[in-house]
């Protein structure tokens, strides 16, 4: 029985229209092992896993479960074969309790909700060492709790093979450790786990074997112990890649953007950003670290004039920008690129062409009543060439481009606008290694040319390597500003969860207030008058 595969996929192909998402893929998972599935964006990882969980059916090829051929035509079939998937975007009902979310999917559960369901869920949770309150409502849960719930749900239905699609993207370092401990315990219990992730260090630490896909094709499967991050990258990308981010040191200017005691409310009316102060100089990258949804979006929107602030000051080159229209702020040279989860919601008009999207912020500049499309086309062609955007033409609607190319178009436009402050939130969200490094290079270029960059990121390793300083937020409050070369992932993780507060570290110098602030100068000048 030892050598029998829990799951074996043979010769799987799947096309969507003209796109070959998967081509003749062979994948196998042994019982009681963790297999990492690695590949760039659009290499077909999620498609492959969706076929395993019954969301898609393969065009060609067959799937074997425990050595027997399996007909997986729907998610129900997949459940029956003991396959469970934890999706990247959780599929939970917010208004229901943890137990009810699990209960919901049960067949033959009857019409009556019974009290004992809480006990049952608790039992299965404790068996795997999860801490969860079955009565807690999902909307009260943190991201990591929701994920735990998803995993318990899968286990409850007797899944023997568990697929996790980018489970670590939304977690802090400490939470990732916790998740990995759980996964290891599940492995000991004989479960097979397939984990999709972009982060190589995680692959190295958790997996037994690694399967690599590239552009929809199966490349190879290797034992984790016998490989290295460098080797994995080469397989994934198909050529050698330099994995270092060079942090160049550039002459810094006086503060370009200063934010003092800023408080912003969220859409629901709760405090999203609480009394936050920071400043950005030209020629530096200030990172903002924090768990997803702790005020990053509101901060971006407030600086670019899209969201009113409750109190505080925002000064750009000595001029107040509070209360200015988004257009006026743009004209001052503050440009924001925010990549939301769906990648298209803010900043791009998805049905319009690259050309038209290039014109989004400057169509007004043309003389007369007409839009200058020729200018847009030149810009589009430049961005396509310089950033290597893969597209049939500059007239292709942005919606038809793949995620990485969409982000390049967005960032390309913001840079073309020659900003002096560039706010960029999650610029590499969901991007593969190759494209990510290209984006880091672009940001470094901007820094060299004297732009102040506010970088809101997720990956702490990258932030430490790329940023000069890192501002850590926890529930909208500043936990401290640290120098990137003096900090560690662990320290940042503790600060992000609120366990470590470095705001009182230097009593003489309050956090986030520049020594040579232009704000105070302005005030002094007034007093002299």
């Amino acid at each position: 029985m030892d050598n029998q595969y829990a799951i074996e996929m043979r010769g799987i192909s799947k096309t969507f229209g003209s796109i070959q998402a998967n081509k003749d893929i062979n994948l196998n998972v042994r019982q009681g092992e963790i297999l990492a599935l690695l590949g760039e964006n659009g290499s077909g990882k999620t498609t492959l896993m969706n076929m395993l969980s019954g969301i898609y059916t393969p065009d060609k090829g067959s799937i074997y479960v425990n050595g027997k051929i399996a007909e997986i035509r729907s998610p129900e079939d997949s459940k029956r074969y003991g396959i469970g998937m934890v999706h990247q975007h959780f599929k939970l009902v917010d208004a229901f309790s943890a137990a009810d979310n699990i209960w919901m999917g049960k067949e033959k559960a009857g019409f009556v909700l019974r009290k004992k369901r809480y006990a049952q869920i608790e039992e299965i949770a404790s068996k795997f060492g999860f801490e969860i309150d079955p009565k807690k409502k999902v909307y009260d849960m943190a991201v990591s709790e929701k994920q735990t719930l998803e995993i318990i749900k899968v286990l409850y239905y007797g899944a023997n093979v568990i697929v996790l699609d980018e489970p670590t993207a939304v977690l802090t370092v400490q939470e990732i450790d916790k998740l990995f401990n759980v996964l290891r315990r599940m492995k000991e219990e004989g479960h097979s786990i397939i984990i999709i992730t972009h982060k190589l260090n995680e692959v190295m630490s958790i997996s037994d074997r690694v399967a690599i896909l590239r552009k929809g094709e199966y490349i190879t499967t290797v034992n984790t112990a016998e490989t290295s991050e460098q080797e994995l990258t080469e397989w994934m990308v198909g050529r050698k890649v330099d994995l270092n981010i060079n942090r160049t040191v550039v002459e810094k200017t006086r503060p370009l953007l200063e934010v003092r005691e800023l408080t912003i409310k969220s859409d629901e009316g709760s405090v999203a950003i609480d009394n936050v102060s920071f400043y950005i100089r030209g020629g530096e990258i200030l990172g903002v670290a924090g768990i997803a949804g702790c005020g990053q979006k509101e901060l971006c929107e407030a600086i670019s004039g899209l969201r009113p602030i409750s109190s505080g000051k925002m000064i750009h080159k000595g001029d107040n920008i509070v209360g200015l229209s988004p257009k006026a702020i743009m004209e001052k040279g503050i440009h924001m690129s925010f990549i939301p989860e769906d990648r298209l919601g803010m900043g791009l008009a998805p049905s319009m062409s690259i050309t038209d999207n290039m014109l989004l912020k400057k169509y007004r500049n043309a003389k007369g009543p007409f839009v200058d499309r020729a200018q847009g086309r030149t810009d589009a062609e430049q961005v396509i060439k310089e950033l290597g955007v893969v597209t049939p033409s500059s007239e292709t609607p942005v919606r038809r481009l793949s995620g990485g190319n969409v982000q390049k178009v967005l960032l390309g436009r913001e840079i073309k606008a020659a900003p002096n402050v560039l706010i960029t939130a999650y610029p590499v969200r969901g991007l593969d290694i190759n494209s990510s490094y290209m984006i880091y290079d672009i940001l470094n270029e901007q820094k060299k040319s004297g732009v102040g960059v506010l970088f809101i990121g997720e990956d702490l390793d990258v932030m430490i390597a790329l940023c000069d300083k890192i501002l850590v937020l926890c529930h909208g409050r500043v936990m401290g500003v640290v120098h990137a070369h003096k900090t560690s992932k662990e320290e940042l993780g503790l600060m992000m969860t609120g366990a470590l507060d470095l705001t009182d570290k230097h009593e003489d110098k309050p956090v986030g207030i520049a020594k040579d602030s232009l704000m105070d100068e302005q005030k002094d000048a007034k007093e002299v008058e």
Binding site: S18, R73, P75, S325, M330, M346, S351, M352, R373
Partner: protein
């Protein structure tokens, strides 16, 4: 043997035309079966209908004048609606805006017509109709902008207010009511055709009304407005994503109000053309253009040139069935409405085949063939801005729905 459905990236234009032609002929075939059932020869009927009964008719020019009188309001209304639809503002209040415009134009004609020179009256009629219809449309837009109300419901309800206002005017005999004939005992709308008539260019016996020329001109202007101007660009961005529009520093509310006003004002102009050529108000003045206009705009996929094509065909259908109805007493002219519904339904069905191809499971060679076909199609990348909205709704489907669809497909097969 199962089937599954594969999305086409692009469909060559000749294929599109073939699909649409198949749809139209299928609709006519179904209509033909219905006609045969009531003992009418479908070929004779269709022959009469599509020639508008002009063959061998001595007063054929009158039929053409009639045809253009129906065509102008429909085309202009559809063009006007397409402006709002491009912005994803679902203005289904064309009927109401048309009625308000018609009442305004009639008021001007009746009160000022006898006093002022005709050209000035005509200009004032058009202006009054545009302003009041525009303001009427603005109600729904302002409520949406200010309170976030649903414009579909608002414009729909405003239709009924306008319609019953028209009935009220048309049926109330009173001293103040200058809309009705004073000498008649029954409520009859007063005609102003003696005082005011839209000028027409004589071409032999045929008269080309000035409104036809103006409609073509407005069509060109709207096309340029949408495709080339900053305003048109803004409409496209707002329609695509309001979040992005705000981010780009656009004043979304202002753009919505402006566009809806223009859209409603053009519908008002259509109504001025209509009453101006008819010379009298009536309770059926709209001829349902507010509704038919929606169908025309969608069938044309919001493309201005296509609106001209589609509305010409729809008007042909309506005019033709009226003519045919006079010959074939057994077939009511509302047969055209049924035919129109069938065509709409089947053309939308054809849209499905344009966007997807059906592939047989298991038989791999055949599938390969389809894939390569789609690939060649991809090479002639034809991007059509006008299919945006149709495709957009596709994109908006959640993953669950897609899953269900997928399941449905396999079940069917």
């Amino acid at each position: 043997m199962g089937f599954h459905i594969v999305k086409r990236t692009n469909c060559p234009i000749w294929k599109k035309i073939i699909f649409y032609l198949i749809a139209i002929f299928s609709a006519l075939a179904i209509g033909g079966i219905v006609l045969s059932c009531i003992n009418v020869n479908p070929f004779e009927y269709y022959g009469k209908m599509f020639t508008l009964g002009t063959v061998g008719n001595k007063i054929a020019y009158k039929t053409f004048i009639n045809y253009f009188n129906e065509l102008v309001p429909l085309t202009l209304t559809a063009i006007a609606l397409s402006l709002a639809f491009k912005m994803k503002f679902w203005n289904i209040g064309g009927e109401g805006q048309f009625i308000i415009g018609a009442i305004s134009a009639t008021t001007v004609a009746l009160l000022l017509g006898p006093k002022l020179p005709t050209p000035i009256t005509i200009i004032l009629m058009c202006l009054a109709a545009m302003v009041f219809a525009g303001l009427y449309g603005l109600i729904a837009a302002a409520l949406k902008v200010k309170f976030g109300t649903n414009e579909t419901l608002m414009t729909l309800m405003l239709n009924y207010i306008a319609l019953y206002l028209l009935y009220f005017i048309g049926e109330t005999k009173a001293d103040w009511n200058f809309f009705l004939q004073t000498e008649s005992a029954r409520p009859v709308f007063e005609s102003f055709s003696d005082a005011v008539a839209f000028p027409a260019i004589r071409m032999g016996k045929f008269e080309l009304n000035i409104s036809v020329i103006l409609t073509v001109l407005i069509g060109v202007l709207v096309y340029v407005y949408l495709k080339k101007t900053k305003h048109g660009y803004e409409i496209n961005v707002v329609g695509d994503s309001t979040g992005t529009a705000k981010y780009a520093g656009m004043k979304v509310n202002k753009i919505v109000l402006r566009t809806v006003f223009i859209s409603a004002a053009l519908i008002g102009l259509a109504s001025a053309f209509k009453v101006g050529t008819a010379g009298v108000l009536s309770t059926a003045i709209t001829n349902d253009v507010g509704w038919t206009g929606i169908i025309v705009a969608w069938l044309a996929q919001l493309s201005t040139p296509m609106i001209f094509v589609v509305s010409s065909l729809i008007s042909l259908l309506q005019c033709g069935s009226e003519v045919a109805a006079s010959t074939f007493s057994r077939v009511d002219s509302s047969f055209a409405n049924m035919l129109q519904g069938l065509i709409l339904f089947l053309v939308l069905a054809a849209d499905f085949f344009i966007r997807f191809s059906i592939v047989r499971n298991k038989k791999d060679e055949k599938k390969e063939a389809v894939i390569s076909e789609v690939k060649t199609a991809e090479n002639e990348l034809l991007y059509d801005t006008d299919d945006i909205i149709v495709e957009q709704t596709e994109e908006e489907k959640t993953e669950e729905e897609k899953t269900e669809e997928e399941k449905g497909e396999t079940d069917n097969g």
